[in-house]
Amino acid sequence: MGSPACGAFGEFGGRFVAEALWSPLAEVAEVFEEALGDPSFAARVHGWAEQRLGRPTPLSHLGGLSEALGGAQIWLKREDLLSGGSFCGVVALTQALVAVRLGRTELVGETATGDFGVALGQVGLALGLKVRVFMTRDDMAAEPAAVRRMEEMGLALEPVEGPARGRRGAMAEALRYVACGPERAFYVTSSLASPDPYPRMVAFGAEIIGNECARQLRERGVSADYVVAPVGSGGFACGLFGAFVQEGSVPGVQLVGVQSGGDASPTKGAASLVRGRVGVHMGTRSFVLQDELGQVVTPLTDAAGMAMPVVGPQHARWMRTGQVQYVELADAEAYAAVRTLARSEGILACLESGYGLAYALRLAPTLPEDAHVVVGLSGDGSRDLGRLARARGEGASS
């Protein structure tokens, strides 16, 4: 299989879209590439990330939990401490600044957990742009706090009728809206699994996370043995791994992406890299959860942020090259890991982060005390309190 013509990551990526979207995306790609050549653009991204989003986030050493587990030292990259409660702001920021360069006046996006909608509001309003967020009714019912927050921010919130939770229905409606007013509206994706140039734009912003983390480790004189992150569509993990993945940049580090295995049934989870096959979905060639006829399978997982049947093309390439190891863990393990972290360290992580945490909790006791495991914590878990309570009621965790 050859490389896609646009935005290729090895044999993955590309811009597989209907003709009506080709030229608008080509224009975005051109402006993004111009921005990459303009030092003031990167400076602006970093300036806004610091001034409005509250970066850098801390890298916390979990001394108590590490000691209790009796193995490696566990570190957390703390995206939960950002003002929006998640890493999403930095993903929205790059795209919003490209929209400004294009002269667009309205940001249009979709959200499943509500985190990205809030991030879009934070960034867009700060830049003087209108913000419109599409969200399925099921997701709105499941995330009342985020919906209230978006309402208070005055965002145009568009409910989407759709049979399945997740971003796909909302994404289709958002794209349709933008197609009707491309001269003013700019589509902002929350997903790394998107047509070119979106995976490149998402990575550009998200890599701030990994660069911060690598610098913080150096400042403390710590050499990471493992860096672990949850992978749904993979934007957060792409950002965290970015600083470590280049050969020779941080020698000896093993990168691990953890996907949701749902209820542990072999055909149901969201582990596109473990159980998927190469296909084209969401405008990109990557690993896709699908049946033998090429019909996309709807992932079933309690973590809405992990419920993606396709993963960003960067991860597909890293899977192929072996630069990153990808595994799946069941929802029950993620719940248990979130609870363990809360009880041992007083930190409430979102359920998505629970998959990476769960892997680290398994791994750390097998390693010596002078080994170091960094876990990416993608966001705060306040929105998951109800799910945690229900899971406990159902006996999903101890």
Binding site: C6, A20, W22, P182, G279, H281
Partner: protein, 267 residues
Amino acid sequence: MNDRLNTLEERASARRPLLMVALVAGDPHLDATLDYMGILAEAGVDVVELIVPFSEPAYHGAVLQRAMARAVNEHLDWAQIEEIAAEFRRSYPSVALVVSTYLNRLMVAPTGPILEGLQSAGVDALWIYDLPMEEAAEVDALSESAGLPLVRAVSATTSLERFREIARRAQAPIIWTGHSGGELTLTGQAFEERLRTFGEYTRRPIFASMGVTTGAEAQAVVQAADGVLVGSSVAWLLEGRGPDVKERLRRHVVELRARVDEVAGQG
């Protein structure tokens, strides 16, 4: 180019408006599809578009999305599509047949043999909705090898320079995808002017897909385009079902045919 595609070009050159009608294979079940294709052929369509359903039809409006959701439950594979095409071709040797789908459905097995199978079954062209020209190099080569040309799409966002390259590559009808979710993005005079300009750079007939539901709308479209593609109104009609659905389908297509034919020879 085969005789059926040549005939379409000749009709377009003679200003005889063309009618293409789309059906979702397997909606609501496979047994009905061939019957419905026959009704379209006997009511006088020039081209039948047989949509192979995909679970994620991002570029279709709500009606066709629902139709595809129903049809996905039929679990159609490519061998069944070939059988339908071959059976249709035996009964209707002169009506052109376009098969359309999303790229992922062609990636479940080596794509070359799928295209060869469709061509052997009498399919005249293949339309892959999410395969733009730039990303089509591999499929272009397979399509040429199989003798199954690709339908190319254009839209309101297609520049003239881009259109000329699309037209240069086109070996089958070109389709103007003029709406997104039922919202027309270019209307009236601007649409006519664009179609006229594009038409100067290709001999291939240009069909316009504009969310047409009535004979009057179809007639308006073929004032500017060589042909009209009607899809969602048929899926909507089939969705309603009822004991006389076949007769209502026949009447709908006969009405479309009659209204577009009123434009014959004009322009």
